[in-house]
């Protein structure tokens, strides 16, 4: 494995993992427009910090997801401050959009169930299920232990299934 990442590696990583980063941010934010902006922000940061990337400490997808999560957290903090300042809930309003957010072709029940999950629950589902990262990589992105990651995934899926079942029954 190469010790240092080159410019060609960055271009290759950007093209190869764009969809992964975007999907992760869509699940994390629950908003496609915000996810697109954050994806662009993530790759802008990646361009600046590519010299810091060390392939020995994980694949480029894991590193890009870490950057994406950091960008999303910055966004959430900014939104949190804005909501406090303005006294209203912009994200909640956005979620009420009729457009499918989490993917074309998802059943309406699953779409609604995903919207019911918190960002913390959706991010672990995105990493482990949608992006199919292994437990170690997902735990690294989330900054928790592998065991905690498995527990969180299990609870998120159970809740998702419960929400789906409730939606279908309704």
């Amino acid at each position: 494995m190469k010790a240092k990442a080159s410019a060609e590696d960055f271009a290759e990583a950007a093209r190869r993992h764009l969809d992964d980063v975007h999907a992760f941010l869509v699940y994390l934010t629950g908003d496609r427009a915000v996810a697109e902006d954050l994806t662009a922000e993530t790759f802008a940061r990646a361009l600046e910090r590519w010299h810091r990337y060390d392939p020995r400490r994980g694949g480029p997808r894991t590193w890009l997801c870490q950057l994406a999560r950091s960008a999303a957290l910055d966004h959430f903090r900014a939104e949190d401050r804005r909501r406090r300042r303005e006294g209203r809930y912009a994200v909640a309003e956005l979620r009420e959009s009729a457009e499918p957010v989490f993917g074309e072709g998802l059943s309406p029940a699953l779409e609604r169930a995903l919207a019911q999950l918190s960002a913390a629950e959706r991010e672990v589902v995105a990493l482990r299920i949608v992006l199919e990262l292994d437990g170690e990589g997902a735990a690294r992105v989330l900054g928790i232990s592998t065991t905690a990651c498995s527990t969180r995934l299990s609870r998120a899926l159970a809740k998702l299934e419960k929400e789906v079942s409730a939606g279908v029954a309704a």
């Binding site: 969809d19 361009l47 949608v130 199919e132």
Partner: protein
């Protein structure tokens, strides 16, 4: 192995649907990211020496240990050279006294530092055969044990007698059969004093030696002149008394003077005889002692190097310990603050994500 199999097989259908419908990036986003991909990533700063913090800490610790060991080694090697003082003591020899002075010449030679060898004849003061000199020597020797003490005492006495002298006094004592001491006052003909000292110093390790010479030649000459004067006066008195023409008063006066001169002559002769005798026999006070405790052998240079290096390391450890005691609580508080800050930030992020 699918990630889901690690959790539960029940969610396979759910997972399949989620993966099949994963959101894809729009064309607009793809173009935006493509623009980034065409750009050159920011190069690593050439002047920036980036080392992972953990490795940097290990490297610094290794450097510190290496530096301290090096300092200890250098100091140990540098400090193990024999000191100038020690060289002087070991090489110190008695200087020849000026024989012209009438006063005492005292040369204390060693105080508690063992001589590496027995004294040669040239090592101590040499009396001059042509002059009358009082010679006093004090020797303090250490012998190995009580057996050696006994042998050394006997040897000193035999030696003294063998050289034509005598033993003026002996004090010998042992305690609990392991420790002891002896003090001998020896009178040795001054012509053999160098031989005696050389032999005596070989029976043990010299702890102290002091030699004093008092030149009494002028005093003896003065007394000789007084004797001659008295003898001449006495002879004149005898001659005058023998003439028979001395009046009674004068006779009585001469007889009293003759008695006085005879007494003075006798006393002066005795005094001079003592002086000559004291100048003929040197007085040597020999003190023999066993060690109070097992004397440590003189350390070799290697041992001294190790000792010095060890001392430096101990000093460094002391400084390090002191720094740890002073800085330790601050570092611990700082570490705890950082850990608490990180944990709080993680909890805050988690709450934020749970709310979102």
């Amino acid at each position: 192995m699918s990630p889901l199999e690690l959790v539960d097989g029940r969610f396979d259908k759910l997972a399949t649907e989620l993966r099949a419908s994963r959101p894809a990036a729009s064309e607009g986003l793809r173009n935006r990211v493509e623009e980034f991909a065409r750009l050159e990533p920011e190069p690593r700063r050439k002047w920036g020496f980036r080392l992972p913090a953990r490795r940097a800490a290990f490297a610094l610790a290794a450097l510190a240990v290496l530096g301290s060991l090096l300092a200890a080694g250098v100091t140990g090697l540098g400090g193990s050279e024999p000191s100038r003082e020690a060289r002087i003591v070991h090489g110190g020899e008695a200087t020849s006294p000026s024989s012209e002075g009438a006063g005492a010449l005292t040369v204390p030679q060693v105080h508690g530092v063992p001589y590496p060898r027995a004294l040669d004849k040239q090592d101590s003061l040499v009396p001059q055969a042509t002059r009358l000199q009082r010679y006093d020597a004090t020797l303090r020797l250490r012998v190995k044990d009580v057996d050696a003490l006994s042998n050394a005492t006997k040897r000193a006495m035999n030696l003294t007698r063998g050289l034509g002298g005598y033993v003026a006094s002996v004090e010998y004592a042992t305690r609990s059969g392991r420790r002891g001491g002896a003090t001998l006052v020896l009178r040795v003909p001054i012509t053999n004093v160098q031989t005696a000292l050389a032999e005596l110093t070989s029976v043990g390790t010299i702890l102290r030696q002091q030699t004093a010479i008092l030149d009494v030649t002028r005093r003896a000459e003065r007394e000789s002149r007084q004797l001659d004067k008295l003898e001449a006066e006495l002879a004149q008195i005898k001659e005058e008394l023998a003439s028979g023409s001395v009046p009674t008063g004068r006779r009585l006066q001469l007889e009293r003077r003759a008695v006085g001169d005879r007494l003075a002559l006798k006393a002066l002769k005795a005094k001079r005889a003592r002086l000559v005798r004291s100048a003929r026999l040197a007085r040597i006070v020999l003190t023999l002692t066993t060690p109070t405790e097992q004397a440590a052998p003189s350390p070799s240079r290697f041992d001294k190097t190790l000792d010095d290096a060890g001392a430096v390391l101990a000093r460094e450890a002391e400084i390090l310990l002191y720094a740890l005691v002073v800085l330790g609580p601050l570092l611990a508080i700082g570490g705890v603050a950082i850990a608490v800050g990180k944990a709080q930030r993680r909890r805050s992020d988690q709450r934020l994500l749970e709310r979102a």
